[in-house]
Symmetry: C2
């Protein structure tokens, strides 16, 4: 049986457990996809910048060790997002390029939106790096509209 409590009640009632758990499940899924998106987007950036996308560069930019990158690239290859020529850098497949382009577009909107709210460049860069993976199509569209409306 429920017990009484001296604590201040929440403003809103607790959402239905099924509804709430669905939200948490979605969030965990987004979290799992985040790393893949960051890798693929970064690889596209390196390639489009005119360089090869080498493990050492990816590692340096992500701030992880090179074997960590090697392992993830193997997984991305299995998933059909990248192809590798041994000792030659990594390339995006058609599917990988698609993921990269979409991630990059979304990332850009999020970062630009934060900047449009007056957030500093440094903080916008860091926050956007995490926020981007949790922004749905609907929210992304709302960000776009707000930037248009805002001037």
């Amino acid at each position: 049986m429920p017990r009484t409590s001296r604590s201040i009640p929440r403003e809103a009632p607790l959402p239905d457990a099924g509804v709430q758990s669905e939200g948490f499940r979605e969030t965990r899924k987004a979290r799992r996809g985040a790393l893949v998106e960051d890798y693929v987007e970064l690889i596209a950036d390196l390639i489009d910048d005119g360089n090869e996308a080498r493990q050492v560069d990816i590692a340096a930019r992500l701030g992880v060790a090179q074997p960590t990158v090697a392992k993830m690239l193997a997984r991305l290859a299995v998933d059909g997002l990248v192809s590798r020529k041994p000792y030659r850098g990594v390339f995006l497949t058609e599917a990988g390029r698609k993921v990269a382009d979409e991630s990059r577009a979304r990332h850009r909107v999020v970062e630009d939106f934060l900047r449009s709210l007056g957030v500093s460049e440094e903080v916008a860069r860091i926050d956007a790096e995490g926020i981007e993976h949790h922004v749905s199509a609907e929210t992304l569209e709302a960000f776009r509209k707000a930037m248009t409306r805002g001037r």
Copy 2:
């Protein structure tokens, strides 16, 4: 040596590797803290709603198995955020209450802000659940101001 490429160049130049990796490092740190925040916030919600915060309820609301919750609660206890009376539910320590209050306040601002942009209730709830953990103090303040300005 850099090789030429037929690809479209990025709009902005690649950021400095050190700067970029710092952003990714920060993001990974936020990701690690996210789960703790969700637990503590949910525990506070259950308690403040007048119920005990039992493992089964926490599990149902997070959408994970109960032993998963048991393991995390043990960790939260070690971290000094909760205390447990065996078979009696979990309680927040003073430190835990502080984390919960801060997380809840931030969560609310993020969700309200999304709603203020016209995002639907369901989507705002899901997106906020992930976004909240990547919103710095500066960005949070920008969200608050935008809501005030906006009307």
